[in-house]
């Protein structure tokens, strides 16, 4: 490949194929091309069968034009016979534009035959208007994952959504209210907390009644779902109907606990303190009135401007936050008075103890005299305790013995 074949090699090959000697083949080859040169020099064409045609031209660089024979050209291009000229699908400029800008930058007005229609390959979904799509929050909350799929508006799909939302509504349990009432009966001292719980229960029931109203006004074929929703909402309203009034001890003249369908629960007798005198009770009521006024002025999150209906209910029932705060004030005042009384009693007892100690005074002079006497009695030696002294013989110095010894 890419080698240069000399005339000797060519002659050997020709001689081997033509069954002649290489010298004979070389002579014939040389004579052939000499004839071709003379022919071209004469201005004629020279054609060798199976090789091609030579023609003299006027160009200076290559005065001989060679046109290979057809079979020669086919044989040389035999490895590329499988390829054929292919028309391009799009013009080269557009292909380069696609390479540069990507598919998005493909111009819409494509000139030429091979126009690429990308829009036809795209999958189109039916348009969904937001008005036709109804998704309930209950369904989304209750269903774990597939509820987030938006469904197009259709009667069947809307009905299914309504049914699921109705089924998933948590119905308040009756025993829970009974248990609450029993708890109220057994724990009357926590009547303030019970009223708060009651408010919470009412608020929750009101919210549930609002949430459980199915939105089927727009649906044409959702009559069954509407009826079921109404039934459910009526049931919920029935559960919100029983009135729970806070149990208050008879000392405060509060009504007992009442529930619908049940006999009123009588709270146990509760007298935490002995009955107060009338003066004290009047003072307590005054303090309660003073505490009640600012409490009513305070904004209440449960009954605000957001829910005027709820405010009206609370005012009609008479169990409002101001009232509970007044009870709190009464209890607080009672506790304060009791605490003050106990403190005063303790101080009185302490004072008595101190005065009792002070009523028995001790003089310091008597105590010092008594102590001195006891010291003297301890320091005076008795006769039996003195040491015995024996007399010394004469001639010795008796001065020491006379001085230090006592005569018996």
């Amino acid at each position: 490949m890419n080698s240069k074949i000399s005339i000797h090699q060519l002659a050997e090959g020709v001689g081997a194929e033509a069954h002649v000697t290489a010298i004979t083949a070389q002579l014939i080859i040389k004579e052939l091309f000499d004839l071709a040169s003379s022919t071209l020099e004469a201005g004629e064409e020279f054609e060798i069968e199976g090789i091609g045609r030579f023609r003299h031209t006027d160009t200076a660089n290559n005065p001989v034009a060679f046109q290979p024979a057809e079979e020669f050209a086919k044989e040389v291009n035999a490895p590329f016979d499988m390829f054929e000229p292919q028309p391009l699908s799009a013009p080269l400029d557009e292909l380069e534009a696609i390479d540069r800008r990507g598919i998005e930058g493909l111009p819409t007005e494509a000139t030429g035959v091979g126009k690429v229609d990308i829009a036809s390959d795209m999958v189109t979904f039916p348009s969904q208007s937001p008005e036709n799509v109804t998704v309930s929050d209950e369904g989304i909350e209750s269903r774990p994952s597939d509820s987030l799929i938006f469904r197009p508006s259709s009667e069947a799909s809307e009905e299914t959504i309504i049914e699921e939302s109705v089924v998933d509504v948590p119905i308040p349990d009756e025993p829970s209210i009974e248990a609450v009432s029993e708890e109220i009966a057994h724990l009357p001292e926590k009547f303030e907390d019970v009223t708060e719980d009651k408010d919470k229960v009412d608020h929750q029931e009101a919210d549930e009644s609002i949430v459980n109203v199915p939105d089927v006004k727009e649906s044409a074929g959702g009559k069954e779902g509407l009826e079921e929703g109404k039934k459910r909402s009526e049931k919920v309203e029935d559960f919100s109907a029983p009135e729970i009034t806070a149990p208050v001890p008879p000392a405060f003249n509060e009504p007992s606990v009442k529930t619908e369908g049940q006999q009123p629960v009588q709270p146990p007798i509760f007298n935490p303190l002995p009955p107060f005198p009338e003066e004290v009770e009047e003072k307590v009521l005054k303090t309660c009135a003073s505490v009640e006024a600012p409490a009513s002025d305070l904004p209440n999150p449960n009954s605000g401007a957001d829910n005027p209906q709820r405010e009206g209910e609370s005012s009609n029932q008479g169990v409002g936050p101001a009232r509970s705060s007044s009870r709190f004030g009464i209890g607080f005042a009672t506790g304060l008075i009791v605490g003050l009384a106990v403190g005063a009693l303790a101080m009185f007892v302490l004072f008595l103890a101190m005065t009792r100690l002070e009523s028995r005074p001790v003089s310091s002079t008597e105590e010092t005299e008594e102590t001195e006497e006891t010291v003297q009695t301890v320091e005076k030696p008795t006769v039996g305790d003195q040491p015995s002294v024996t007399p010394r013989p004469e001639g010795t110095d008796q001065s020491e013995g006379a001085e230090g010894s006592n005569p018996a």
Partner: protein, 91 residues
Amino acid sequence: MSNEKIVEELSRRLDIPSSQVEATLRALSNCIREYCCKLDTVAIPGFGTFQPVKYAEKIQTDLSTGKQMLMPPVVEVEFKSSVVLRKRLAR
């Protein structure tokens, strides 16, 4: 000049039977084609060289219609005349 005249002239000049000349010419064309298919260059002194050249695929544009075609690779046999031939022709 046609092939028959070439055979007659060669047989006359070389004093070789025309059949042998014809067979030799047929063998010569076969050898040149065989070497050119191998992309080898055949050099004939005093006349020129047969050089096969391979061109890669290319895109051709038809200027009249604007249509573009992808052309496959092709091998073309080019003849380059020798200096001796050019001098003879220039004379």
